[in-house]
Symmetry: C2
Subunit: 419 residues, 2 copies
């Protein structure tokens, strides 16, 4: 006899490996047929649960589910939708309970970052507060790497690898051009609050690659005069300089670098990214020719360059979530526990959601070099294991074979619900 059905959904910004976690959840659930019935995926995260828009993953072949491991993005759709507290929006929790009851759902797997951990925590409390038995397990995911307790977050390692590799490649390019052309390359990276991704740009340089890199962290208040002097010093020594600027880099008064009071031809405020602002600032001060790039979604979608350790951990988190659930756990999140950096050894741990929800892990101060523009050896020791190994997707005719699932909806049983 099979057990309760499971709900799985993806939340927040998607990553190159969130589907690997989904793969881990579904493949593992399929192995526990005695304890878990079907896995229903929420179309567009928790919205799928609220609107009873559930996808029956049993219609997907084992091959299609296996292909999730190498497919970037969120295969079931994600959402930016935060449930409020039980006291404020009881209507939503009542609805969730109705949907879960209607479809015999006893397991809730939510795959996301800090906000989603909070949602998952609230769902885990349904049982206690509303007398409805549900086990809620959070599956960690975020390129921002800002979840507490876990050593790192699935999704981050692959972005870090992409930024480190791209920064090295572009730096080699500029180095070739600097004699008569470009001397400055600026790459803008994600990370509004924490500089984890920006820090990864520092990995472009190492003992065999003496590349001049200046990193502009969100943790360090921007000082234009000091920055321009640092750039000049690098160009005088190397004839070129690479700048990695976090989208969260800001002036002492809190204004992001990207907010330059720029207006377009119609007088609208123009949001153009931090990279062109930094590049033009250098040009104005020193006259150096520049190029700039904004990686944006390319960095978090770049499954073609995923870190093997990241893919493995993403899968392991999904697998562990199901194993914890069948072992009777509730209100927890599987974590990555680092046992050793070199060689890199890690294992699966767990953290109570009460300690995860609404806690943001910042980058330690000792990861940023004294001048504020680089990474320390401690930071390097932390980051290097996370970009270890390559796990390439299969290619067909020159292009990666990513899977698009059938996403067959189940039959609805309840009246409509307005969000």
């Amino acid at each position: 006899m099979s057990g309760k059905n499971a709900f799985y959904a993806q939340s927040g910004g998607v990553t190159a490996v969130i589907n690997a976690s989904g793969c881990g959840v579904i493949e593992t659930a399929r192995k526990y047929k005695d304890k878990i019935g079907k896995v229903y995926a929420g179309r567009n995260g928790i919205i799928g649960a609220l609107t009873e828009d559930l996808i029956d993953t049993s219609f997907e072949s084992d091959e299609a589910i296996a292909a999730l491991r190498h497919t970037p993005s969120g295969a079931f759709g994600s959402c930016r939708y935060k449930l409020k507290g039980l006291d404020v929006s009881k209507r939503e929790y009542d609805r969730l309970m109705e949907v879960f009851k209607a479809h015999d759902i006893g397991y809730f797997f939510y795959n996301g970052g800090g906000d989603s951990a909070d949602t998952c925590h609230k769902v885990s409390q349904l049982g206690e507060k509303m007398g409805f038995p549900i086990q809620a397990i959070h599956v960690p995911k975020t390129v921002d790497n800002d979840l507490p307790i876990t050593d790192n977050c699935p999704g981050f390692g692959s972005v870090a690898k992409y930024i480190a590799v791209s920064t090295r490649e572009a730096s080699y390019d500029v180095r070739s051009m600097s004699k008569t052309s470009t001397k400055i390359f600026v790459i803008e990276v994600m990370g509004r609050h924490a500089g984890w991704i920006a820090a990864a740009g520092g990995l472009a340089a190492d003992a065999e690659n003496d590349i001049p890199i200046i990193i502009l962290f969100p943790e360090v208040e921007f000082n234009q005069e000091k920055f321009l002097a640092a750039v000049k010093a690098k160009v005088e020594k190397y004839d070129y300089c690479t700048i990695v600027v976090s989208e969260g880099c800001h002036h002492p008064d809190g204004r992001f670098l990207a907010e330059q009071g720029t207006k377009d031809a119609f007088g609208h405020a123009q949001l153009g990214g931090a990279a062109p602002v930094v590049a033009n600032m250098i040009k104005d001060a020193h006259g150096y020719k520049f190029h700039w790039a904004v990686a944006d979604y390319l960095q978090r979608a770049a499954r073609h360059l995923a870190s093997k350790s990241d893919v493995e951990q993403a899968y392991a988190m999904g697998k562990a979530a199901v194993e914890f659930a069948v072992a009777g756990e509730n209100a927890i999140m599987p974590t990555v526990v680092r046992k050793s950096s070199s060689p890199y050894v890690w294992e699966v741990g767990k953290a109570p959601l009460s300690e995860v929800a609404n806690v943001e892990k910042m980058m330690p101060k000792e990861f940023i070099s004294e001048d504020g523009y680089g990474i320390t050896d401690a930071c390097r020791e932390y980051l290097v294991p996370l970009i270890q190994g390559e796990e390439y997707p299969p290619y067909n005719n020159g292009m990666p074979s990513y899977v698009t699932l059938k996403n067959t909806p189940i039959e609805k049983k309840l009246p409509e619900f307005t969000l």
Copy 2:
């Protein structure tokens, strides 16, 4: 007894595979020890020849030269420096002759695009016009894919692959987010005059990947009203849309999209790229949330995702250049001759430099779909072979192992020369 020495240099914008051509030149020259002495590389292209700044590649190990095959950028430095006609700048040609004589150089291999082919052609005429025996062979390279006669240009295939893959990955990402967040993704690509690279974005969609893509080609005058209507139609059907905009896309009056008359806080004209302009235009008209990326150097430096056929052709062009030279040829460029698209079969041909220099190959009109926003089957048939296969660089500790050569200069024999 060994023959004359060879000069090799890299010119113009570098690529992910120009060093593979350099590898082909040097490895092949090392096999013809009876006919070719040393290979001297010009530091920073032709400038190295003019300033007698020559690198003795014989100090590089076979392993280091082999590693050029998988190293992006220009290992000897490149330049943007165009020699004028013999009539105008005889001083420069006299100097080249002096340098070549001083170092017993009888072979001139120049690795670049259209401008460099012109330089190479002029050098090939030195023999005739100035009584100095030199064989000049041009090695084709350009991400712009705009050299005539050759079916395609080494460097383009890898950029095409990078843009096609990145566009597919980012489109998957946006598709996941469109319900509650981003509906529009804009990626800006290189190509000021021709839409070859933009066209590659169209490969992101195929029979298994029904992705709504609108391409803004430099060949098609921008029509804002029609474009906005096309975007709206895609979003109404798919809930999202990806736009690939060429940096060369322009208004009917010739102004690039990026030139919006935007001023920064100090009143300076702000050059912010076409992508944010297009994204903001859509937001203003339809209110759709957007993200945008500017790949810039990342696209042409992305050796981590190089096309295998591109790497092979880049190497083959360098190899053929040397083989043509030892066979007594002068004033030619090796070419790629396509024999069949499916299966992809090509061979090495040759073209006289008189027919290559200063001729720009545009994209055929029949490669652009009738509405001006997509690629045709003919275009797809042309492009797909060029992105075939993966040839990954070796990795060490999570990062690609690219080589930085010793670049040992030879002893100068001549007085200084002012550029």
